[in-house]
Every structure is written in structure tokens, then in C-alpha cells.
Amino acid sequence: MYDYTDFDESFVRARVAQFTDQVERRLDGSLSEDEFRPLRLMNGLYLQLHAYMLRVAIPYGTLSPAKLRQLAWIADTYDKGYGHFTTRQNIQFNWPKLPDVPAILSALADVGMHAIQTSGNCVRNVTADHFAGAAADEVADPRPYAELLRQWSTDHPEFQFLPRKFKIAITGASADRAVTAAHDIGLRIVRNEAGETGFQVLVGGGLGRTPMVGMVVRDFLPEADLLPYVEAVLSIYNVIGRRDNKYKARIKITLHETGKPEITRMIEERFAELRPLFGGADQALFRDIQAAFAPPVFREAPVAAFDAAYKADPAFRAFVDTNVAPHRHPDHAIVTISLKAHGETPGDATSDQMRLVADLAERHGHGDIRVSHEQNLILPHVHKSDLPALHAALKSAGLATANVGLLSDIIACPGMDYCSLATARSIPVAQEIAQRFKELDLEHEIGPLKLKISGCINACGHHHVGHIGILGLDRAGVENYQITLGGDGTADMVIGDKTGPGFAYDQVTGAVERILRAYLALREAPEETFLQAFRRVGMEPFKTALYGEGERDAA
């Protein structure tokens, strides 16, 4: 794992000192809110509906036990004993008080963490496949590249005031678990015919008001050219991106309005200018970073204990079948710890749960912990013989819910329970759907399903790429929920289609149930997933299930 160098450490400490002074000056009245607001946002501090919110970056979703314990300590000391993991591999504290924030940032700096660039029109937290370095289908570990990008983008003087925020995601695996096509820049590590490592580069993806699938602007970018190429993209965007209209300011609109051939030409031209200026320093730095991500030494031991428990214990078997993924080392496994217990808030973890996961990562997982954009925690390197003990420990803390990839593994943004941008609530909708299907005991029969809920058009809950997506809106002063079907956030990303008129707050769960009962009735076999069935039959049967045969035109 990458540890801060003296340079990183002194930069973060200097920023904490600056912000401490800025908070003092705000509290004594020397700074107005207009002056202070951009300063607090640069340090991840938002003012939401009921309180301040501090958004802390978890670069490429990687945490150590020490970091997770410190987050637990912050939650207990300065917040209400929990944290909320977000769809961008951040953690949010919902109740900090302004005078305490400098102390929180200082506590974060103690473990090599910060909240810098988690807001504002700059390059945000670089996200990565949460199975990085462990997945069986991986070309290369994306995290060293993500760390290189983090260092390059942090406080980059040219890119602190972009037309709009800028999000980069990277995956090294064939199955895209990082939703790269929904990012301003999506990077996919590939090998060319000569066996060299490089990137397929996507630009202009994004969800929000105008959802767009990223376009491939380079099929193969040699790995050594990563920084000059990304800098060229940012540089062109910084110049031609629109600053006159906030809703047209993201690079996806720039790309759309300029056209792919022209923008590709501009990027390549700028790249040709920038490339010679890097001079190899980035590559020397990259080699140091890469060494920090060397895989752990995997234990060679029999897996008989795993096989026996799998046969004997149905609860353990269910957990393994849903929450455990193949590891590149056949005797190891990747364990996803669901933060989606039925009826709980998606992505929330209590301080006790954080400490337990930290302990278990030390005991069974080489001290490596990941946060996924799907708002779960992951222990990426667990020897199979340790899985029964791990499962038992998780169970004791309410963390053994066997639902990863199923209906109740819902992504939900904070919605109008916290967020000042929200137009409707999303958390209670997720809670009710999960509870209903637990009572119906249907989610295992339904099988793989991605249900994603956003509480406003900005789509933090990724509803566009949910197999079932739910978008909460304010329709004439009443919460109203639009449903989309057929979205897909994997490598061949698809934006879902609207079913028709929206549903009232208390009708959403029933609508989801009608959709899924229609699916169960029409699927050709239990193996045909909801998404496959939707692609085969299209929207009509689901429209009928939702709105009836004759009433549709009137609705």
C-alpha cells in the first residue's frame, strides 16, 4: 500500500494549517460566507439540509486498518458514530460542527488522508475497480496509475478552476467494475498485440442531467504516456469547455458540441506538445509507486476447512455464493462485506463495524480493505480456509448479509434526508424495497439485479445504469419517482429507458414488485437474468405490468 512521502505529508499538513486559520477567521467575522464558501469546499466541507457534511476521499477505494480505525474514531468523536460510503469511493460525515473540522482534518492527516478536491471544479477523487490487485480477470493493478494521477492532479495549478468538476475512473480488468464509461475520463488497462501494457481511453461519459456513454478517443495509449495524455485532455477541456452555462459545462457536452474527430485532433495536437515536457520524471515516480502496490505474499495452505463448511452450513454457503468472488490465486477469495442489511441505510457503517472490519482485515486479509462504488466494503485477499471464521465474525456484527449483486444490494444517494440538492428522498425508498422483498423472500429467486436510486437529476445514485433505476423528483411539491429499465453500468454501458409516468412515494415499492413479478412470469428459465429478459422482450410487458393495458394513454 502506498504511504505518504514527506512531500505528501507536508502538503496535507500545510493545507490543514491554512484551513484552520480560515475557519478561525470565518468564526471571528474576518471572512464573509461568500469568501469562506469556496475555501471550505476546496476542503470537502459542504453545508447540507440539517448540518455540515465533510466528504473525505478514499483514493481508488483503498483503505488500511489504521485508516478505517481513524474514520471510526472521527465518527465517534466528532459525528454520530457512523459514516456514509458514497458511489465515488468517498466517506461522508453528516454531522460535523464547523469549529471541529480543523481537528478532523488533522486527524485524517495523521493517517495519510484528506478531503482536498472532494468538491469544486477540479479533478475529483480518482476511482478504481474495488477488486484491483486481486481479481482473477485482471490485466494489471490499476491502483499505481490511480495514485500517479492523484499526485499529478492534487493542487495542479492549471486545473483548479475547470469549467466544471472532472472525474476519472480506472479499471485493469475485463469486467468493468468501475463504471469507467460514465466518467469524464475512463481508463481501461489493455495489452496490445506486442504484449505491452497501455490504456483504452474513454472521454465524455457521465450521468446526471444529460447521461452519455464515454467515447473511445484512443484504443491504445502506451502506459508511459498516461500523464501527458490526460493532461492534454484536461488542457483542451479547460480552454474550450463551456463556462457560460453550468448545465453544459461538463466535458461530455464539449465533446458532443465539438465532435469526436475534432476534439480528438485537438487532444492529439496538445499531447504532442506536452509529451516531451514530461522528460521521464513521471516514470521514475511511477516505478516507486508501483513498488508500493506489490501484491502480498499469498499463504499456501489447504482449503479443506472451507470445503467442509460450504457443505455443512447453508448460511455460509449462501454468503459464499453471493458475496465471494474469484481471486487470481485459486486458494484465495475476494470477500464483499455488504453494507446493505435489509432495512438499513445503503453504504452506512457504524464505528463498531468499521473497527471490526479493520480487525478482520488484519487477521485474515493482509491488512487490505476496499470501498466499492456500490457502497460496500471489500476484503480483497482472504485465504479460503479463513472464510468460515470471517463469516462468523461478520455475522456477529450484522455484516454477513448475503445479498451482493441481488435486489437489496441497492445503491442509493443520501437524497433529501441530507443533501441540499436533492428533489426527493432515496434512502427510505431503498429501505422499504429491501424490506418488502425480504418479507416476500424473492430476491434469490430473482437473481442478479442492480437497483439504483438517485434523489435528483444529478444521478449520484447511478439510476441511469441500474437494471432498474429510480429517480426521485419534485412534481408540484410532491415527491414523485421515475423508473427506468434496462440500464447497464458494465463495459458496454447502456442508459436505461423510462417506463412512463412516475410513481408517488408510497407506490414505488409496489411498482418495483410488479416489474419483478412480470419478469418472473416471462423469463424463459431461472438462468435468464432480469437484464437479459428485458433485452429480449423490451419495455412493453413491463409497461403493461405497471400501467395496465388500456389506461396507458390516459396516464
Binding site: 460566507e33 453545508l47 440539517h50 453528516n94 454531522w95 460542527k97 441505510t345
Partner: protein, 102 residues
């Protein structure tokens, strides 16, 4: 043509704690919506908003929110303002907890 003015309250968040507060008729900031001054005149609303904006060491982000008269004082109209009087729906946090024992 101007639309008829609908009654308002002035609301904001406390600078230090972030709590939702409401401006009362005697220039104080209350945690209770029903203690807010219900403003029925547009010119007066602008004056009260100016006053709120001058309280920059106490509150942040003051704005006018629709409200209506109720038996115990002003009540919120929009659901967003309703949530702001209580707190989140997923935990017993915020006003619904803090004010329960007051």
C-alpha cells in the same frame, strides 16, 4: 403582473453547528419553525431577509421559505421544509432527537 405574495418565514443554518434555524419577530434565531415570524408582506419579507443576511456571524444561507399559519404558529408548506424541521428519516438524528426532550 405580479403574483400574489404567499406567506414566508426566514430560515437559515447556524454558522457553527449547521442547525436549521428560523428568524423570530424579535430578531432571534429559533430552532422551532412555529416560533418563526410569519411574513405576509413582500416588502417586509425583503427587509427581514436583509436583516438575516447581516447576521453573518450567526447564520449562513438565509432564504425565504413558503409557510402557512397553523394553530401553534407557522407551518412549512413544501416537504423539503418539513424535513428541515425534523431531520433525516433514516435515523433519529437532528431536530427530531435534539428537541424531543426540550
Amino acid at each position: 403582473m405580479s403574483r400574489r405574495f404567499t406567506p414566508k418565514v426566514v430560515t437559515a443554518n447556524r454558522l457553527r453547528e449547521g442547525d436549521v434555524v428560523y428568524l423570530t419577530a424579535n430578531d432571534l434565531w429559533s430552532l422551532h419553525h412555529h416560533e418563526a415570524e410569519l411574513i405576509e408582506d413582500e416588502a417586509h419579507a425583503q427587509l427581514r431577509l436583509l436583516f438575516a443576511a447581516s447576521q453573518k456571524n450567526l447564520v449562513v444561507g438565509a432564504y425565504l421559505a413558503d409557510a402557512k399559519a397553523g394553530p401553534n404558529g407557522p407551518e412549512p408548506v413544501h416537504f423539503r421544509e418539513g424535513f428541515r424541521t425534523r431531520g433525516p428519516s433514516n435515523y433519529n438524528h437532528g431536530k427530531q432527537a435534539d428537541l424531543a426532550h426540550v
